[in-house]
């Protein structure tokens, strides 16, 4: 890999931009596709370009054969995002767990006593109201949203905003009873049952989780299941 290619790749990543590195596996010749890419060694024909486009759209690195040449298309997308609403005890465990699994984590809580640096060292925190915070984020199919406050005045605006967008996962903490009253409120707001069914509640896989760390694990497990159960669809 040439210095200029590595530098452009790191710059694209720092700018949270997508890039694809195309390598001809025989010779090692490479061309980077993405913002600020230097001129490459490898000419990309129409066939190779269409492989690159579909790899980027599917968020999936792949090898490709064209004629008797083999290529590798390495997709570098920005990290998937997890937005946690509620800077509560479970969030303190879920944030670092999700970071280990490769997510860029944002914790949203307007309550100053909860959203503190001391409680969330190194985690991106915002004290905006959840709907305002979500409006400012690119909530797409690489995003998961989890509400943990139990408090309708914080959780509901976040869930309503989430349902109007297309995150790959929406989870809401709360018992079946809490969720039943949440469903009633969302219906009243105008969401239909199919929309409301996109919310995973009670949140997480049923692994008998009791402690905050176990609950965080069950949530991350359910997110992983949703993420990998089928290939992500190409963005509309």
């Amino acid at each position: 890999m040439k210095n200029a290619v590595l530098d452009a790749l790191l710059a694209a990543r720092a700018a949270k931009a997508s890039a694809a590195l195309v390598t001809e596996l025989g010779s090692g010749a490479q061309t980077l596709v993405g913002p600020g890419a230097p001129p490459g060694d490898l000419p990309l024909g129409a066939a190779l370009h269409s492989f690159v486009d579909s790899a980027l759209a599917d968020d999936r690195s792949m090898s490709a054969e064209i004629g008797d040449q083999r290529y590798f298309i390495h997709v570098f997308n920005p990290p998937r995002r997890l937005v946690i609403v509620g800077a509560v005890h479970i969030a303190q465990v879920l944030a670092p767990m999700a970071a280990l699994a490769g997510y860029a984590v944002t914790v949203v809580d307007p309550r100053g006593a909860f959203a503190t640096e001391d409680r969330f060292p190194g985690v991106e925190l915002t004290r905006q109201w959840p709907d305002d915070a979500l409006e400012g984020l690119d909530v797409d199919q690489r995003t998961a949203i989890v509400t943990l406050t139990h408090d309708p005045k914080l959780d509901d605006p976040a869930l309503e905003t989430a349902l109007r967008r297309a995150p790959f996962y929406i989870g809401a903490l709360g018992s079946k009873r809490t969720h039943a009253s949440r469903v009633a409120r969302l219906r009243e707001t105008g969401f239909d049952d199919a929309e409301i069914a996109r919310i995973h509640a009670p949140v997480g896989l049923d692994i008998g989780a009791v402690s905050p760390a176990e609950i965080a694990l069950s949530i991350l497990g359910e997110m992983t299941l949703l993420l990998h159960r089928k290939p992500p669809r190409a963005p509309a």
Binding site: D7, R13, S63
Partner: protein, 117 residues
């Protein structure tokens, strides 16, 4: 650098930090090899796109298997640093070398090894 400390004092380098580490080694004037999983068959522990970077002193970050073939990959990376040529490696249970290095999971993995120029 996205290095997450674990409670045991060990550290784990996040996948996205591997190229950053490779660039840091290069900036320090060291030769650097980069291995990338380009294809897998059957059960293999690391998905396509997983990377391992190694410098001329043998320091490494990342992984291309569950630890089964890393030793052999590092040797090939050092050979690539010496002659500047990229390499394709294949490890599987049907492969003599894989038995030696122990790809016990039963899968096959194809790894591209290159150097930073």
């Amino acid at each position: 650098m996205s290095e997450l400390k674990t409670g045991t004092g060990a550290s784990f380098t996040a996948p996205h930090a591997i190229l950053e580490q490779a660039a840091a080694w290069r900036a320090a004037g060291r030769k650097v090899g980069l291995a990338t999983v380009v294809r897998t068959w059957g059960s293999s522990p690391r998905p396509v796109g997983s990377q391992l970077a190694v410098d001329e002193t043998g320091a490494m970050v990342g992984s291309v298997s569950g630890g089964c073939v890393e030793g052999a990959v590092v040797e090939e990376a050092r050979a690539a640093m010496a002659d500047g040529k990229p390499r394709m490696l294949e490890f599987s249970v049907s492969n003599e070398q894989a038995w030696e290095v122990g790809l016990a999971c039963g899968g096959t993995v194809e790894i591209f090894v290159e150097t930073l120029e």
